[in-house]
């Protein structure tokens, strides 16, 4: 019984790590880099909820890898990450106050955001498609 649990624990741990990776990339790393660059606070907030969401999706995808339900589960975290980033960046339209001056700056980051969404879609689709190749190879 103990041995039978090992692959399940491995799958769950793999899913937790995958979920945390998506959380770190989309909700922490990208907004933090842009925040430091623009010197304006950009935070997603609700950290625990987002971690729970990404970890549950990652775990579900990992455990159900051989089931067809894993097809959308593989794509959803990437799209969800891109959506959270879209909301955090206010659709790419930011207003940056210049400290100590009366200047007010509007900035449109939508080309970057569109590229991130497009690449997430591409990577998510490819990951979803990999279900068929994994099934064919078994």
């Amino acid at each position: 019984m103990g041995r039978a649990l090992i692959p399940i624990i491995k799958k769950v741990l793999g899913g937790v790590l995958t979920g945390l990776t998506y959380y770190l990339v989309y909700v922490v790393l990208l907004p933090q880099v842009l925040s430091a660059l623009l010197r304006t606070p950009l935070e997603a907030g609700h950290a625990i909820s987002f971690i729970a969401l990404f970890v549950s999706l990652g775990t579900a995808e990992s455990v159900l890898r051989s089931h067809p339900v894993s097809i959308p589960l593989r794509a959803v975290p990437k799209l969800l990450g891109a959506l959270i980033l879209y909301v955090v960046l206010n659709g790419g339209h930011l207003e940056v106050p210049a400290e100590g001056t009366v200047l007010r700056t509007e900035l449109d980051l939508s080309p970057l955001l569109h590229a991130i969404i497009l690449l997430s879609l591409l990577y998510g689709s490819m990951d979803a498609f990999s279900y068929y190749t994994a099934r064919d190879s078994t």
């Binding site: 009366v102 200047l103 700056t105 900035l107 970057l112 590229a115 991130i116 490819m126």
Partner: protein
């Protein structure tokens, strides 16, 4: 079979995002390094005749990233300067005498696209 392709796409995605961000990073770093002399915009007007004035907008820019669609809002009216590159960029526009209103010339906003990608509008006052 798809694992190398997925890894390749992830690596290319990261590089592409970095490449897309690089003009903005360079522009902001140059602006922060030299805030006083990074960009200087001056507008002057002289009457041509009783009905028209000649407005000269000079943009002295010391950055290395080209700025596209540069425009100056002068007394509430937006004047297109065009593309701006390192050095002195001047644009002369002839306007009707009443188009800039009365009083001294006042620049209220500047707008441009950093490397043709990122639209920035700076409101003054």
């Amino acid at each position: 079979m798809l694992a190398p392709a997925k890894l390749g796409i992830a690596a290319v995605s990261a590089l592409l995002v970095l490449a897309l961000l690089s003009p903005l990073i360079v522009f902001l770093m140059e602006a922060q390094r030299n805030p006083e002399g990074f960009m200087y915009v001056k507008a002057t007007a002289r009457p041509l005749n009783g009905t028209h004035v000649e407005v000269t907008v000079a943009v002295l820019y010391s950055g290395t990233v080209p700025l596209r669609d540069f425009a100056v809002t002068l007394n509430g009216r937006e004047l297109a300067v065009g593309d701006v590159s390192r050095g002195n960029n001047t644009r002369v526009v002839v306007l009707g005498a009443g188009e800039l209103g009365g009083g001294p010339l006042r620049i209220t906003a500047l707008s441009y696209r950093v490397a043709g990608l990122y639209y920035i509008k700076v409101h003054m006052g």
